[in-house]
Point group: C2
Chain length 126, copies 2
DNA sequence: TTTTTTACTTGCATTTTGCAAGTCAAATGA
DNA sequence: TCATTTGACTTGCAAAATGCAAGTAAAAAA
């Protein structure tokens, strides 16, 4: 009798399983780390290419960046679109991703108010 | 000639140094991980004791909880107050900590809107 | 067609997690 | 008062995630 290569249960394509039904906890399952929201910040600022994210002043390691972009694609926060007249792809926020703007805005306000020496603008090493 | 035990430079009491002046990045330096904002969520819900945070449905490991509470104290987001008529201390948000409410609120709204099956309430295992 | 640039991948060393199992003072109860 | 029980942490790892520094390969530019 023919069989599939292995006998593991066909549980869904391996999303690590959420920790609780709390919307905050679920959100953190998707972007609760030191880098993901910085990539989303860059996307909200209009950046769209790997090198642009890598050039942000925080200096995200490229292997981490690669991993975070993959996850953001998987969770539907980011999508890829072909760059006009080329074969490369650019990243952009989906509606779900753009809906994070209030989160970033609140964090920005909090940082400006409570963390001495923070400021916006001037965001591009290289 | 008498000397201090070691010759390391007296650089400030070792706060890991921020990655950039961006307010979002600075905020993430303080609570950019999978657990810290859940502790703050619990505090906003009125919980104040170690065991209460540990009893939240996400099940934070106690060593991590201990570490996060220490950092939150160090960054001035949380403070400790004696429990009435006892020697134990309870945790509570400072003004700086309460100012994170809009961040949590935005994340909650986002989660409820975009993550299927999320819901508020029912937050207490044990 | 050669040279650059862009977008990643690989290989580690180090750090951070997560889990289970202590420890010990404070609160409770008999 | 003294024995238990609870609360608040520590400790000890194994496993996973991070952070470099270097590669690599396809696209774009020269």
């Amino acid at each position: 009798m023919p069989r599939k290569a292995d006998a593991t249960q066909p549980t869904a394509p391996e999303t690590p399983a959420r920790r609780s039904p709390c919307p905050v906890a679920c959100a953190l399952d998707l972007f609760g780390d030191r880098w993901t929201l910085l990539v989303i910040r860059d996307l909200l600022l209009g950046r769209s290419r790997f090198k642009d994210f890598a050039a942000s002043p925080e200096g995200i390691p490229t292997n981490i960046l690669s991993d975070r972009l993959t996850r953001l694609l998987e969770s539907g926060i980011v999508s890829q679109v072909p760059v006009e007249g080329g074969k490369r792809l650019a990243y952009e926020l989906t509606e779900k991703g753009r809906a994070l703007k209030p989160v970033l805005a609140a964090m920005k306000e909090w940082g400006l108010r409570w963390e001495e020496g923070t400021q916006v603008g001037l965001e591009s090493r290289s």
